[in-house]
């Protein structure tokens, strides 16, 4: 997960999660980071989680707890996004704010949404539909022909069983639109040619100075000594097609919504 950090010395942000820490209006406030640093997909995902997890206390508008207005952009003790994640994860002892067990992807979404809820109207945004997304994953997208989910599908591409806990909504969307740019270097394919001319291609799993480990096209775990290789190439382009022109924006949003439901076996 990569979330651009706020600069705590330049910006003061408020924890509207905590009723009694709201700043008096007279206290000097600093400007909040512009909302543009948060990806729309993350904000949307956060809005979805916020609606189910947070509105019970904070209300749909984030202002239901007396003295707390999450949308105000004014916080006392919370400066960085890291602080905000910490408050959500650990809670505030002695207050109604209990700890929440969110995965990194969910946390990124909630933080993005809280930072932007004053300008983001969840009611007007058509959030991705995970059921439609699953159908697209299996059908039009043909994603299951390379990816494995919950024990089904090949292992040639990364297993996506827990991708919704590991990647933010934004990164998932980027992977669908521009797979090569979004592909993690660790997931790059390698092409090795042994001294006898045998070609082995597969997805890189591990590497050191003298060896490389991969899962090959036949799903064998293979460890190669680099000294045994005539050629060794790390392929920087993804074999995954871009879905930018294959799926509509709404359909991509649906697939992202589905992928975000894949949290792995707890």
């Amino acid at each position: 997960m990569e979330i651009q950090k706020l600069r705590p010395l330049r910006f003061l942000v408020s924890s509207a999660l905590i009723a009694f820490v709201l700043l008096p209006a007279a206290q000097a406030l600093r400007a909040q980071n512009p909302p543009t640093q948060y990806a729309p997909a993350d904000i949307e995902y956060g809005a979805r989680i916020f609606l189910t997890q947070c509105t019970g206390c904070h209300g749909v508008n984030g202002d239901q707890v007396p003295g707390v207005n999450l949308g105000s952009g004014q916080f006392r003790h919370v400066f960085s996004d890291s602080d905000l994640r910490s408050v959500i994860t650990n809670g505030i002892p002695g207050t109604g704010m209990r700890p929440f067990n969110f995965d990194p992807s969910e946390l990124a979404g909630i933080v993005a949404y809280i930072r932007n809820m004053h300008i983001f109207d969840a009611g007007k945004t058509k959030l991705g539909d995970p059921t439609r997304g699953e159908a697209l994953f299996e059908g039009t997208g043909n994603c299951g022909s390379c990816h494995r989910v919950n024990g089904k599908g090949p292992r040639v591409a990364p297993d996506l069983s827990d991708i919704g806990a590991l990647r933010t909504a934004d990164l998932l969307e980027r992977s669908l639109v521009d797979p090569s740019a979004a592909m993690l270097p660790m997931n790059r394919s390698v092409r090795a040619v042994l001294r006898n001319g045998k070609v082995i291609t597969g997805r890189r799993l591990n590497e050191d100075t003298y060896s490389v480990q991969l899962i090959d096209d036949q799903e064998h775990l293979v460890s190669l000594d680099k000294s045994d290789l005539r050629e060794y190439t790390v392929v920087t382009t993804s074999s995954m097609p871009s879905y930018k022109d294959k799926l509509s924006a709404q359909e991509i949003s649906d697939v992202v919504a589905y992928l975000l439901t894949l949290k792995g076996v707890k």
Binding site: S211, Q213, I215, S223
Partner: protein
């Protein structure tokens, strides 16, 4: 497999049979079928179950390393685990891939030839986990492309062997009540069998089976019978509810008889028998269960109403041999209580037993194998002591030598002191305040020691002993200064590999016990060594300290 194929296989010579299974294994690469598990000992290039095969002999047909060249062993690779807990894991090796666990419940897939890692799996253990004797795991089971791991917070997890992703995770028992699992599961057909630990926490032990595909529980056999069940009369009142009898080490399986054999642990509380009068069935017993239904076929109790913590969780070693002139299916059992037993594994009939270390809590066994008790006066040492004449340390049997090998604690004793205790969920329930026999001096216990050995010869010592299973006679003994908690491996190269607390990894002549080679690995060897083969080279692996060490002959 067709009937004709079976008949053809039956006609093959031993060598061609081995070749057949080797080829079959190659063609089935990456799919560990139930059939492959049944014939695991016939593909010695792999180590497919915790005990190296259903008979649990920890004997390998590999013989590239033998008494003439064992001196040429050299270290090929080391893998340091990311844990300072005891490393008690026996790895699996499947077609060149090694799977090993590290504390608390991580799985690592390595290249068995080089030690390079393909993937790791981390299981988040509940803080409620409270295994009595270390946050350890002893290994995995595999079926198809799926690994199975029992966790210290009593979950059972299925993991994709190719990529380390969890497939399912089910709760087996409540960790808050002291249930833990530290054993490697046992696959029988399409089921995953496990047993629970927790004999020091007043649990009610059980062995249970789960559908390998879904994790759905197929059956559960409580090792303490409930009201109305046979054996319940061996408990008084509600003692049975917290009577222990855990099953914390992997059992064995006879496919022909379709019976699994599983040892059970101590009754609880461990040391105060006034809290649980009666024989306390089925504590300290071996159970023969139908793996399809969990129904009890027979049982044999080694230590009725045990006051000494003499768990009978030893790995059952299954041997087919002539007995008084006729072939017989046997179980060989070096018990923690200091006696070596031979049972008929078809019926459970006791054939004979005799001590393999100094024993004074019983003067012998009667015709039915029941101990003739000689409890020692208060304040005096009982032999063997609490850790026993042996314990869970994996034994071995070599069909070539016909000998049974045990890691034994010789001349070791404890002064047992029972105290009062009340059961409280999740708390220790042992009712004991035992001491060593040397006032102010150290006595070896169940845990690791530091780098300086203060366990002198007065406190006893460890040994590898070789027993003739027909007589119980000790054919040889390889004595160590400190005790040993290591498992044992024997090979068709007539070698015996074992370790010990001192950190030496040793190769002995399996016929004579002569030391042929040793390496100082600098840390406790607690797990069992294994051997396997990749690209025509035999490797020997053992966990020591906090690392896996792998040896092979110099190129």
């Amino acid at each position: 497999m067709s009937r004709e194929m079976i008949a053809a296989i039956a006609r093959m010579s031993r060598v061609s049979l081995l070749l057949f299974f080797a080829l079959a294994a190659t063609s089935l690469r990456a799919q560990v079928t139930a059939d492959r598990l049944t014939h695991a000992s016939s593909e010695p290039q792999n180590w497919l179950t915790y005990s190296g095969g259903y008979a649990s002999q920890r004997y390998s047909l590999l013989h590239q390393v033998d008494p003439t060249n064992v001196k040429n062993l050299e270290m090929k690779w080391v893998f340091q685990v990311q844990s300072l807990q005891k490393l008690e894991s026996t790895p699996l090796v499947v077609d060149g891939i090694m799977y090993v666990t590290q504390s608390p419940n991580d799985v690592i897939a390595l290249d068995a030839k080089s030690g390079h890692v393909f993937w790791t799996y981390h299981f988040n253990v509940s803080p409620a986990a409270r295994p009595c004797c270390g946050v350890v795991n002893r290994g995995l089971a595999i079926l198809g492309d799926t690994l199975f791991m029992a966790t210290v917070d009593s979950h059972l997890v299925a993991i994709d062997a190719k990529n380390g992703h969890a497939l399912w995770n089910i709760k087996v028992a409540d960790a808050n009540a002291g249930y833990a699992m530290t054993l490697a599961p046992l696959i029988v057909k399409d089921k995953v069998l496990v047993g629970v630990a927790g004999g020091e926490f007043g649990i009610r032990g059980f062995i249970s089976a789960y559908d390998a595909h879904t994790g759905a529980e197929a059956w559960r056999f409580y090792t303490i019978p409930g009201p109305g069940e046979p054996g319940h009369e061996t408990w008084k009142g509600e003692d049975w509810l917290h009577g222990g009898a855990p099953a914390w080490i992997t059992g064995s399986y006879d496919p022909d008889l379709n019976l699994v054999y599983w040892g059970t642990g101590n009754p609880g509380p461990d040391f105060n028998i006034s809290k649980r009068p009666g024989d306390n069935l089925y504590s300290d017993s071996v159970l023969a269960l139908d793996p399809d239904t969990g129904k009890l076929k027979w049982y044999f109790q080694f230590t009725p109403n045990d006051p000494y913590d003499f768990d009978s969780v030893q790995v059952p070693v299954l041997v087919d041999t002539d007995w008084n002139g006729a072939p017989r299916k046997l179980i060989l059992w070096g018990n923690r209580n200091g006696f070596f037993y031979v049972l008929d594994r078809t019926t459970g009939k006791f054939l004979f037993g005799r001590p393999f270390v100094k024993v004074n809590w019983a003067r012998g066994l009667d015709d039915y194998g029941r101990p003739i008790l000689t409890p020692q006066p208060s304040g005096t040492p009982t032999f063997p002591g609490q850790q026993g004449g042996t314990n869970w340390y994996a034994p071995s049997y070599s069909p070539r030598t016909g000998l049974m090998y045990l890691s034994a604690w010789e001349d070791y004793s404890t002064i047992f002191v029972s105290v009062d205790a009340e059961y409280k969920e999740g708390q220790h329930y042992t009712a004991g305040a035992n001491t060593g026999p040397i006032p102010g001096g150290d006595t070896p216990g169940g845990q690791q020691r530091g780098p300086i050995n203060t366990y002198t010869e007065v406190a006893g010592h460890g040994a590898v002993i070789a027993l003739d299973p027909h007589t119980g006679e000790k054919k040889w003994s390889f004595d160590m200064h400190d005790v040993t908690t290591s498992g044992i491996l024997t090979t068709a190269g007539d070698l015996l590999f074992t370790g010990g607390r001192e950190g030496y990894f040793q190769a002995l002549n399996a016929h004579t016990g002569e030391l042929l080679w040793k390496a100082n690995l600098g840390g406790d060897i607690i797990a069992g060594p294994i051997t396997y083969e990749v690209d025509g080279k035999q490797y020997i692996s053992v966990a020591a300290g906090h690392a896996i060490f792998v040896f092979a002959l110099r190129n």
